[in-house]
């Protein structure tokens, strides 16, 4: 696979760069990983629009500095999704947090249309976001990745920990989460 122009000018950031068409390899990576990257961010933010914004930023960061066919690409994207979403979560102001709570119906099955249930769920999930923001970075990222459906092996690759340690680290993260949530 080759890309037109700029051969040898591999470090982006210099003056006079001209944007190039994205490569088939990058498009393949984007298509393969976009939903999962959004899913990870969504576990943290509980807001699809915000999660998709995070996903766009994550792919731009990767695109600037890494080749699409790098073997570590998926793991890099997963880790970046979790960390970028946690950063976004911590950066929210009160108004944004209220908006996030109101976004709950997106996650709620259609049958649960009891207003009392929705309000209770909203409050819980608002609190959940606050707990995630307070947890240590790795614990919060681990929860986001695990509950977005990543395997232990994928979590290990993303967070650069041993696969054999993921179970223990995940249990600790869950314990910390429970303690914070009470």
């Amino acid at each position: 696979m080759t890309l037109p122009a700029r051969e040898g000018a591999g470090i982006p950031g210099g003056a006079g760069h001209v944007a190039q068409a994205i490569s088939p390899a990058f498009e393949g990576l984007f298509r393969a990983e976009y939903a999962r990257v959004v899913g990870i961010a969504h576990r943290v933010l509980a807001d699809q629009a915000e999660a998709e914004d995070v996903a766009q930023d994550v792919f731009v960061s990767f695109y600037r500095a890494h080749p699409a066919d790098a073997p570590y690409a998926p793991a890099w994207l997963h880790a970046a999704a979790a960390h970028a979403a946690l950063n976004a979560l911590r950066g929210r102001d009160r108004r944004a947090r209220r908006e996030a709570a109101q976004a709950v119906p997106i996650d709620t099955p259609a049958v649960d249309d009891d207003p009392a249930y929705i309000v209770a769920a909203s409050e819980t999930r608002d609190e959940v976001r606050a707990v995630l923001a307070r947890l240590p970075e790795r614990s919060a990222a681990m929860l986001a990745l695990r509950y977005a459906g990543l395997s232990y092996a994928e979590i290990a690759a993303a967070l650069d920990v041993r696969a054999s340690s993921v179970g223990t680290l995940l249990r600790r993260a869950e314990d910390a989460f429970r303690r914070e949530l009470r």
């Binding site: 969504h42 500095a65 699409a68 066919d69 790098a70 959940v128 949530l181």
Partner: protein, 339 residues
């Protein structure tokens, strides 16, 4: 709160995304903001530069080994035998100096700047077809990783190097002449070093390479000119001396022009030079730290972006190394799965 409830708290429904729309949005942003991507070619050059840095640094091992050899006075044969490894930072100025001094980093030429290097049993690398053949050629059980990351596929190629030995005789005349060729003046060689001998042995060794260039599509296809995984195993090298001491050699060789203060300090800091193998690490390109691997202390060297990682350790008289485009945890997993 059980696992299911935590899952529910974090949201159980997958967001419905439109990837086509998202991709169009990405394209528009790249275009409007003039964002340029990294080409695989350029990235390979970064990897290539890194590997070249390591390869060049490997030339320093010869110097570094000479610095740390165990030649203790009053003894004809004191053996240097590494039992542990330690990183020493090699700066670009060290590399430039060695590039000049070593005339392309050929071992013989490099040593030739300080004396006469003669192979008594030269290394004769050859390729064999199976791990069993590699074991019988080397006389030790060749270990292989039991688990590999998904990026490493296919079967390895096996290279075998016989046990090799060489003699090196320090020469004040050679040193003066080598310095003169570079328009430099070398510090005078102490009289007791002039004419003293080092006896160096290395190997046998086995190198297993996955994704090696074969002319056909490589194991990865993505990096056809960079192997995906290299695993090395060798009998630990030994160096003997006929009298010169470690302290004398250190003082002399570290006084050479071009050796950075950083490298000199790191070499001097090695507490047990008779059993510590210094591993040169390009200071500007790589990070390194101690790791536990196979139950012993080893060394991790990497650039932290996944371009390349190396794990090096010594166990039961054997040196091992695992090198490839991995994260640290992947490289350690491979290293710990060696059986």
């Amino acid at each position: 709160m059980n696992d299911t409830e935590i899952g529910q708290a974090l949201g159980t429904a997958e967001p419905q995304v439109n990837t086509d729309d998202a991709l169009a949005r990405f394209r528009a942003r790249v275009q409007s903001e003039g964002i340029a991507g990294v080409t695989p070619v350029a990235h390979r050059r970064i990897a290539s530069r890194w590997l070249q840095g390591l390869a060049a640094a490997a030339g320093v091992v010869i110097v570094a080994s000479a610095l740390t050899l165990s030649g203790v006075a009053d003894s004809v044969l004191k053996i240097f035998e590494p039992k542990s490894v330690v990183a020493v930072p090699i700066t670009q100025s060290d590399l430039n100096y060695l590039n000049q001094a070593c005339a392309g980093l050929n071992l013989q030429d490099c040593m030739g700047a300080y004396g006469t290097f003669v192979w008594t049993t030269p290394p004769q690398p050859k390729e064999v077809q199976t791990r069993g053949q590699a074991s019988s050629e080397t006389g030790f059980a060749v270990q292989a990783p039991a688990s590999l990351p998904s990026s490493v596929t296919g079967s390895p190629r096996y290279g075998v190097i016989n046990r090799s030995s060489a003699t090196f005789t320090f020469s004040a005349d050679s040193t003066r002449q080598a310095a003169a060729r570079q328009n430099r003046t070398a510090p005078p060689m102490p009289a007791n070093i002039d004419g003293s001998k080092l006896f160096i042995t290395g190997g046998p060794a086995v190198v297993q390479i996955w994704g090696a260039p074969t002319g056909a599509t490589g194991a990865t296809g993505a990096y056809p000119d960079v192997p995906t995984l290299i695993v090395g195993q060798a009998k630990a090298p030994t160096i003997s001396s006929d009298g010169v001491t470690v302290a004398e050699l250190q003082a002399y060789l570290l006084s050479q022009p071009g050796i950075s203060p950083q490298l000199a300090a790191a070499i001097r800091a090695i507490s047990d030079p008779s059993s510590t193998l210094p591993v040169p690490v390009p200071a500007e390109l790589a990070i390194s730290h101690a790791v536990t691997v196979q139950g012993v202390q080893g060394l991790y060297v990497g650039d932290n972006t996944g371009i390349a990682s190396a794990v090096i350790w010594q166990k039961d008289g054997m040196m091992f190394e695992v090198i490839g485009s991995f994260t640290e945890s992947q490289a350690l997993s491979i290293a710990n799965s060696m059986r």
